[in-house]
C-alpha cells in the first residue's frame, strides 16, 4: 500500500460519520431524481424497456471508444504531466491509414481477410511511429518548458494533423469493411427491436484485449514498471537509472497506438473523415477527467459512463443537444470532484 493510500485512509477515518452519510443521501437523491426525469421524458416518447436497452447498448459502444481514447490521455498524463490534445488526431490517423492501406492498389490481389488484418496492423504501427515522432520532434525539444506550453504544443500538433489529413484525404468520408463480414454491410443480432451489430462485439473485444495487454505491460514488464515509476516520481525514477525522456516517448507511442486501435475498430461502424478526431478526442478527455486523469481503470469506467449518459440523455431529450451532456459533466467534475468520480476509491481500483 502506497503512502498516498495510507493518507487517504487516514483522511477517511477523520471525516465525521454523519457528514459522509449526509453526502450519501444527497447522492442517492440526485441519482433518483435524474432516473425519474429520464423515465418521465422517455414515457413522453413511448419508450419501453427495449428502447432503453437499445440506447444503453449504443451508448456502451460509443463509451468503449471513449474509454480507449481516455486511456491514451491517462498514460501520457501520468508519465509527462501533459494533457495530450493530439490524442484525437491519432484516432483519426489510425482510421484513415487503415482505410487507405486496405484500399491500396498493391494489395488488391490479396484476399479481403488478410488484407484487412495487414491494413489494421500497419495502421496501428504507423500511428505509433507518428506518436513517437510527435514526441521527439515537438515535446522533447521543449521538455524544459512549462506543462501549459507543452499542452499548447499538442493542440498545435492536432491542428497540423488535421490540416495535413485535409490535404491528403480531402473532405470525403471513407469506409472500412466490417471485421466480421469483410463487407460494408455488417451482421446484426436482434432481440425484439433491439439490435447489436457484430462490429460492436469487435469494439468491446478489442478494447478488452487491449486493456488486458496494457495491464500486463504495466504490471509485469520492465518497461511498464519503468513507466509507472516515472509517473510516481520522476526524479526518483531518474536516480534509479530510468530515463524519463525515453519514457515520455514510450508513453506517446502507447497513447498513439491506443488511439489508432480505437479509430480503427470504430471505422466500420462510422465513416472516417479528416476531422473526426476533434470531437472523439474531447469526449475521451472528458472521460479521462471523470476518472481523475491519473487512474486507468477509472478512466475506462468514466468513458463507458459518459457514452451511456450521453446516448440515453440524447435519446430521451433531443439528439441535437447530445454534446451538452458531456460538457455539463466536464464542468461539474472539474468544479466539484477534480479528483475524479471515483477519487476516494483509488486504492481499491488502482492496478
Amino acid at each position: 500500500m502506497s503512502v498516498d493510500a495510507e493518507v487517504q485512509q487516514f483522511l477517511r477515518k477523520r471525516r465525521p460519520a454523519h457528514q459522509a452519510r449526509g453526502q450519501q443521501i444527497a447522492w442517492a437523491g440526485v441519482t433518483l431524481a435524474l432516473l425519474a426525469a429520464i423515465l418521465y421524458l422517455g414515457s413522453q416518447k413511448n419508450f419501453g424497456p427495449l428502447q432503453y436497452a437499445q440506447l444503453v447498448l449504443d451508448g456502451l459502444r460509443g463509451g468503449t471508444i471513449y474509454a480507449l481514447i481516455a486511456l491514451g490521455f491517462v498514460t501520457v498524463f501520468n508519465v509527462t504531466g501533459i494533457i495530450n490534445f493530439a490524442q484525437g488526431g491519432f484516432v483519426m490517423l489510425g482510421a484513415m491509414l487503415a482505410v487507405t492501406i486496405n484500399d491500396w492498389g498493391a494489395l488488391a490481389q490479396w484476399s479481403p481477410g488478410p488484407r484487412l488484418a495487414a491494413a489494421v496492423l500497419a495502421a496501428v504501427l504507423a500511428t505509433t511511429l507518428i506518436g513517437v515522432l510527435v514526441e521527439r520532434l515537438t515535446i522533447y525539444p521543449a521538455r524544459n518548458a512549462e506543462p501549459l506550453t507543452l499542452i499548447i504544443i499538442t493542440v498545435g500538433v492536432y491542428i497540423v494533423m488535421q490540416g495535413v489529413a485535409l490535404i491528403v484525404w480531402g473532405t470525403d468520408a471513407y469506409s472500412l469493411p466490417a471485421f466480421t463480414t469483410l463487407a460494408m454491410r455488417d451482421r446484426t443480432f436482434r432481440l425484439g427491436t433491439v439490435i447489436v451489430k457484430a462490429q460492436s462485439f469487435w469494439i468491446w473485444g478489442v478494447t478488452g484485449v487491449t486493456m488486458a495487454v496494457l495491464y500486463y505491460f504495466f504490471e509485469h514488464t520492465m518497461w511498464g514498471r519503468a513507466l509507472r515509476a516515472c509517473s510516481v516520481n520522476r526524479l526518483a525514477a531518474r536516480l534509479m537509472g530510468i530515463r524519463p525522456d525515453r519514457m515520455s516517448m514510450l508513453a506517446f507511442g502507447l497513447a498513439a497506438a491506443m488511439g489508432a486501435i480505437g479509430g480503427i475498430v470504430l471505422a466500420p461502424a462510422t465513416r472516417p473523415v479528416y476531422d473526426m478526431g476533434l470531437s472523439l478526442g474531447l469526449k475521451g478527455f472528458v472521460a479521462a477527467i471523470m476518472g481523475g486523469l491519473v487512474n486507468p481503470p477509472a478512466a475506462v469506467v468514466g468513458g463507458i459512463l459518459l457514452g451511456i449518459i450521453e446516448n440515453v440523455g440524447a435519446g430521451v431529450t433531443r439528439a441535437g443537444i447530445k454534446d451538452i451532456f458531456s460538457f455539463i459533466i466536464l464542468i461539474w467534475v472539474l468544479l466539484f470532484r477534480p479528483q475524479g468520480l471515483f477519487g476516494r476509491q483509488q486504492t481499491v481500483e488502482k492496478v
Binding site: D103, G105, V160
Partner: protein
C-alpha cells in the same frame, strides 16, 4: 536552441507531409480523379495570369476577326479548394469548358453582327467567404467584368452579394439558399442577383406528393445540424402542412455521429416514413441506422444526396430510397418529349469529353446554366456600350429574356419577382435501384 527547435518542427512537417503524400499516392489508383482534374485548373489559372501581365493591351491583343470589337469578360468565383471543392471543382471544369468552346467560336456575335471575344476569368474562393469577397471585388474593379458567375456555397455567395449590388454588376450564384436572391429582412428580390440551383421547397413538394400518393399522413423528419438541414425542415413543415401531412417527430444529427439515438425515438413516434434532410456522409449513416432498426421503414431524402458518395457509403441501406433529384442524373431515362433532354445529353457528352471521363455532377450543371445565361445576355449587346450600360443590359436581359429556357437544372422562367425561375418540376423523383439513381416519375408510382 531556438533554431534547433525550429529545425525539428520543419522536419516534422516535412516527414508528415512526405509520409502522408506517399499514402495518398496509393489512393489515386482507387480514385482516378485528382490527376486529371488538375489540367483544367492550370488552364483556368493561366488565364488571369496572362491578363494580369498585359492589362491595358488586352483590347488590342484580342484575337478577334474584327479588330476593335469590345472584349466581354465573365468573372467566375468558385470553391476550387477547401470543404466546398467537391461542388466547386465540377463548376470550375464547366466554366473552363465553356471558355474553351467560346474561344473556338471566336466569341459571341452581337445583334449588329460584330463578333466579340469573351474572356472567362476563374478565381478560387477557397470555400472561404472573405477570399470570395476579395476575388469578387478584384473581378469587379480591376478586371471590370460584365457579369459575375459567383458562389459555390451559400455563405460565399452572400459575402459577394453586397459588392455586386453596390457596383451594379449582375451576379449569378450556384448556391442553394433562397436568401441569396431574396433579402430575408425585407422580403424583396435583390435587383442584381440571380441563382440557378433548385431549392428545398421544390424537394419538399415532391416528397409531399409521393407521401400523399402512398396515403401517409404521419412522418418523422431527421435533419443534419447545418443551414441546409434546417432549411429542409422549415420547407417540409410548410409544404407538408398544405398536403395534410404531419411531422410527428423531428430531430437533428451531426455529420460525424456514430450513434443515432434518434432512431429509437422514431420507433416510439409511430411515423410511417422518415424524411431525411442531409448530405453525405451523415445522410448515408442515418439511413443505415434506420434500416438496421426498421428494415421496412420508408426513407425519403432531399436533393442534397444526388451524388455518388451517398450510395458508396452505404450501398445496401440506401437501396430503394426515394428522392427528388435534378434531371441530369437520369437524363437517358427521361421521356423523349422532355425539352431538357437534348440539353442534358449534350452537356454530359461535352463534359465527359472535356474532363477525360469525369462523371457529371448537378453542381457543374448549375454552373452551365449560369454561364450560358451570361453568354446569351452578352450576345444580345450592341457594339459601343460602356461598361455600366453593358452590366445593366446583361441584368435586364436575364430578368426579361430567360423565358421557358431549358437548362440543366430545369426550365427557367425568370421574372422581376423570381430570380430563380424554377418550379418543383425542375426536379424529378428517382429511386435508388441496383446501386444507382433510376427515374421514378409519378406515372410509375403504384
Amino acid at each position: 536552441m531556438k533554431r534547433t527547435r525550429l529545425f525539428w518542427l520543419v522536419a516534422l512537417l516535412a516527414v508528415l507531409a512526405l509520409a502522408l503524400s506517399a499514402c495518398a499516392q496509393g489512393q489515386q489508383g482507387a480514385q482516378p480523379a485528382p490527376a486529371q482534374e488538375e489540367q483544367p485548373a492550370e488552364q483556368a489559372a493561366e488565364q488571369p495570369a496572362q491578363e494580369a501581365a498585359e492589362p491595358p493591351a488586352a483590347e488590342e491583343a484580342a484575337p478577334a476577326q474584327e479588330p476593335g470589337a469590345t472584349v466581354y469578360k465573365i468573372g467566375v468565383v468558385v470553391a476550387i479548394t477547401g470543404p466546398g471543392s467537391g461542388l466547386g471543382v465540377p463548376e470550375r471544369n464547366t466554366a473552363a469548358m465553356i471558355a474553351a468552346q467560346l474561344e473556338e467560336q471566336g466569341g459571341v456575335t452581337g445583334p449588329d453582327g460584330v463578333v466579340h471575344p469573351v474572356e472567362v476569368i476563374i478565381l478560387d474562393s477557397e470555400s472561404n467567404p472573405d477570399t470570395a469577397a476579395a476575388a469578387a471585388s478584384r473581378l469587379i474593379n480591376e478586371e471590370q467584368v460584365d457579369v459575375l458567375v459567383a458562389g459555390t456555397l451559400s455563405g460565399n455567395s452572400l459575402a459577394m452579394v453586397p459588392l455586386a449590388t453596390e457596383a451594379g454588376v449582375p451576379m449569378i450564384s450556384m448556391a442553394s439558399a433562397q436568401s441569396i436572391i431574396v433579402d430575408p429582412d425585407t422580403g424583396e428580390t435583390r435587383e442584381w442577383i440571380f441563382k440557378t440551383p433548385q431549392t428545398n421547397e421544390h424537394s419538399a413538394r415532391w416528397q409531399a406528393e409521393y407521401l400523399q400518393n402512398l396515403g401517409i399522413t404521419q412522418v418523422c423528419h431527421l435533419y443534419e445540424n447545418s443551414g441546409y438541414g434546417q432549411d429542409t425542415l422549415n420547407q417540409a413543415t410548410q409544404v407538408f402542412g398544405e398536403f395534410g401531412i404531419e411531422i410527428v417527430y423531428s430531430d437533428t444529427f451531426e455529420r460525424k455521429d456514430t450513434e443515432f439515438p434518434q432512431v429509437v425515438s422514431v420507433q416510439g413516434a409511430g411515423c410511417e416514413a422518415v424524411v431525411v434532410g442531409a448530405i453525405p456522409p451523415g445522410a448515408s449513416m442515418v439511413t443505415a441506422a434506420i434500416k438496421d432498426a426498421m428494415p421496412d421503414m420508408l426513407v425519403i431524402h432531399g436533393h442534397g444526396v444526388c451524388n455518388k458518395q451517398f450510395i458508396d457509403l452505404a450501398p445496401d441501406a440506401v437501396e430503394g430510397t426515394v428522392l427528388p433529384c435534378g434531371k441530369l442524373l437520369v437524363a437517358e431515362q427521361l421521356p423523349e418529349e422532355d425539352p431538357q433532354k437534348p440539353v442534358l445529353l449534350q452537356y454530359i457528352q461535352d463534359y465527359t469529353a472535356f474532363t477525360d471521363g469525369e462523371p457529371v455532377s448537378t453542381f457543374g450543371g448549375h454552373a452551365w446554366d449560369a454561364m450560358m445565361w451570361s453568354v446569351e445576355a452578352l450576345a444580345s449587346l450592341e457594339e459601343g456600350m460602356d461598361l455600366a450600360a453593358r452590366r445593366a443590359a446583361v441584368r435586364d436581359y436575364i430578368e426579361n429574356s430567360i423565358q421557358d429556357w431549358p437548362g440543366i437544372s430545369g426550365i427557367f422562367t425568370i421574372t422581376p419577382e423570381d430570380h430563380l425561375g424554377l418550379d418543383y418540376k425542375a426536379l424529378v423523383m428517382t429511386r435508388i435501384q441496383d446501386g444507382w439513381y433510376t427515374y421514378y416519375g409519378p406515372e410509375l408510382w403504384e
